[in-house]
Symmetry: C2
Subunit: 476 residues, 2 copies
């Protein structure tokens, strides 16, 4: 054991309030016994604590907690009312989602009315006829083999890529995959590239793991690859968490021309690309470019393909594709995290996914989403507010820039009082910028709700603008 | 940022091989820019690295990695063939389970033939009639409200305990609950009490979080409460992970008389009791004592009630009961981990669980398991080997002591070659002891398989005993 581990341990317990200001620390001898280490190791830790002015020494008495140090890090630690201190885990997005509202534009999920419900229910029944003992069985931690086989065939057909069923792990949604990957790849202070803006839950997960987030600007033209190379050279990031296709929240697409180059950069600078591709099949006009994963020959891309969004949200199925070397630690992490995604949901997904009906559903869904996007754009355009956005060619969201003087947080506060919610831009930005941007999801509300909601939002934004009286910002 | 965080970061990267022996570290100036900290902070970290002989200094040149330090911690880091280093995550139990064998005594799961399969399938169909849009909906991270309501009513009826639906979180199996709790409660070097022996996956999870495991002996008479008080006083453990009812792997029951006292101790020493109670309803003769949770008034017990084992393993439903103060961080952790257990499995569970048929199933299941236990004991008794065990009054396992000179690992090696597996005792022990103990699960194999398997095991044990020729250990 190293003395710096003991140093950390003491600091943690001071922060938790186990030892308060002027409290005496355990003697070197007793702590050495407790931790089963040499006294010298504890002595070194105490010396370092003293050096850093965390503790002070009383002659012939011992070490005492400096009042400045005690309780300083209350932000990192959560004191619960009954005195149990638990680590604070942040989930800003889910906090917003927990608020029930009438006009729900914050959740990027598909309106259940757009799913072929009767067919789906019938399908489930068939599945239970095929596997009468389904409820009694576990999945392996890696995931159902039949499902992994099917996914290999599917990607072979659709992308001409050779995969074997050992190169897939099934997780409960893409978010679990991000969490597991960050647990096996990231240690505190590791640099991780993320797009700016990005998926807010990914920010929370990566930060929770202690990562230093290095933002990569994402524009309608893609990334600046030279800037990325500089960042990779300078920061040696362990991972680049990316969502290059119908990006959340912006809807942007990374051009095909940049994809191969980026994989080469990843290889050169030994940076794992975590490619989150949840919206791949939700295009409006033409199919998006091939995933980066298809250009990867050396195992630097981990591909997350969630089917949760549009196949069947209730099932929460995500496939993680990676080369064998990454799969092994991933399976071990999944084993410990929950020992495997429920078999029931995997089997239902498998049979639904390979059905004819599924393709028909997708086609209809794309049309329905496109109509909702159009309605939202129509209402936004009709408003006498100078907000701006780029028309998304797929996905579920419009990334809207409010006139500069309107704060998204203030607008959200007002909106919630009128039972309307959206995602404020700053929670999608590791730098906490994008204060005047909002993400509006058009996937959950129907056309009428979208029209009413957008009119409501327009009115609230206008009131805010008037209140702050910056007429020059309003549309002429 | 603290210099010791920078110290850790450098050590991690030396261990990963990012910097090898005699490689030059970044200059103080460049690292200070990189990490956005004061140069003095980096200087302090480098001084400490030098002091600990991790790096050496070349005059007017910089800091270089000491050859002794480089690559020393290969055990903590996993180098994958393509050069990506991923943290090694250990899951010993799941490694054993991954081996397909004919006689499977290592997995403590219920034989799917003992579940009312046809009824279950019919049930699922009914559920989809009730909720035709089920597949299109997500659960909240906390879990389905209807299910949480039902569980409150159930515990009110069965245990006369008042709960509200805000005091429950639904997780995907008990293992996820253990993982989430250790993530919010445990920091490196924290002391955690665990029974000896205990559930091997819990050892892996807690160790993965950096906990120091302090074993508590569990005997057929229960714990030694005075010893526990001494341990709590001395080590100030953050948590006691326990499985007091039909304990895994031993089958022991903590007597009712000790339960209330233990809760009082937990309160006095501010130690969270994590009570894993997966086998509560699987008793053979009489109901086990009330859970410790029922004695808790002040929020020191977190109660994990998995229904995965016997209601429907395919669903993987576990309910975590805790006071509000612990629930909040738990929901946040669950949000980040997977954003909620699939709604489909929660709704199916809910309707099955409250059915008449469920109670009938449980009754039959108890009888069937008891018969299997009897058959296993019969065969073990008939063998001319001096192995010993305590008859379990519930649960799924027999905890068997081999004659001392037979190593469970060697027996397992032999057994796997004859397509038979079990859990060797040492992986259930944080101290890596119990080298001559094995856990035999009687829940998955049928009576014929149990008879054949036990005869096979007897033969292999006898051969091992003969090979090492310690006739005195054999039964007279």
């Amino acid at each position: 054991m190293r003395s710096k581990q003991i140093y950390d341990y003491i600091i943690t317990n001071i922060e938790r309030g186990e030892w308060g200001a002027h409290d005496k620390l355990p003697s070197i001898r007793s702590l050495a016994v407790e931790l089963n280490v040499n006294r010298l190791t504890v002595f070194k830790a105490y010396q370092l604590l003293k050096q850093h002015e965390k503790v002070y020494v009383k002659e012939k008495s011992g070490y005492y907690v400096c009042p400045d140090c005690a309780g300083t890090a209350a932000d990192a630690v959560y004191h619960t009312p009954n005195g149990v201190s638990a680590l604070q885990v942040t989930s800003q997005l889910s906090d917003i989602h927990r608020i029930a509202v009438e006009y729900q534009f914050s959740q990027a999920i598909i309106d259940p009315n757009l799913l072929p419900n009767l067919f789906l229910s019938d399908y489930v029944k068939k599945v239970f006829d095929i596997y009468p003992k389904l409820m009694g069985n576990y999945s392996t931690p890696q995931g159902d083999e039949e499902l992994r086989d099917l996914l290999c065939q599917y990607f072979k057909r659709s992308n001409r890529v050779e995969l074997n069923n050992g190169e897939i792990v099934i997780t409960t949604g893409a978010q679990q995959a991000i969490d597991l990957l960050s647990r096996i790849l990231i240690r505190p202070l590791d640099a991780v590239l993320v797009e700016r803006p990005t998926y807010s839950a990914a920010i929370d997960i990566l930060r929770g793991q202690g990562a230093r987030l290095i933002p990569v600007e994402f524009t309608p033209e893609g990334y600046d690859l030279e800037a990325i190379e500089r960042l990779m050279k300078q920061h040696r990031p362990r991972m680049f968490y990316m969502n290059p296709t119908f990006h959340n929240p912006t809807g942007y697409i990374l051009p095909a021309s940049q994809r191969k180059q980026l994989v080469e950069l990843a290889e050169r600078y030994r940076c794992v690309l975590v490619e989150d591709d949840a919206f791949h099949d939700m295009y409006f006009h033409e199919r998006p470019p091939q995933p980066l994963f298809m250009y990867d020959t050396d195992g630097w891309v981990v591909y997350l393909r969630s089917f949760s969004k549009y196949v069947a949200p209730g099932l929460r199925i995500c496939a993680v594709f990676a080369r064998k070397s990454m799969i092994e630690p991933l399976i071990a992490a999944k084993s410990l995290a929950d020992n495997g995604t429920p078999l029931v949901t995997q089997k239902i997904f498998l049979h639904y996914f390979q059905s004819e009906r599924m393709q028909q559903h997708l086609k209809k869904l794309r049309t329905a989403l496109q109509i909702r996007r159009d309605v939202m754009e129509e209402e936004l355009s009709a408003a006498s507010i100078d907000w701006q956005w780029t028309t998304p060619q797929g996905g579920l969201n419009i990334w809207l820039r409010l006139p500069n003087h309107i704060s998204a947080s203030m607008l959200l506060q007002e909106s919630l009082q009128h039972s309307l919610s959206f995602v404020p831009g700053h929670i999608c930005d590791p730098n906490n910028g994008y204060q005047s941007w909002v993400r509006l999801s058009y996937s959950l509300m129907n056309e009428i709700q979208i029209r009413e909601g957008m009119r409501q939002l327009t009115q609230l934004a206008q009131q805010l603008a008037t209140r702050f009286d910056f007429p020059s910002y309003q549309r002429k």
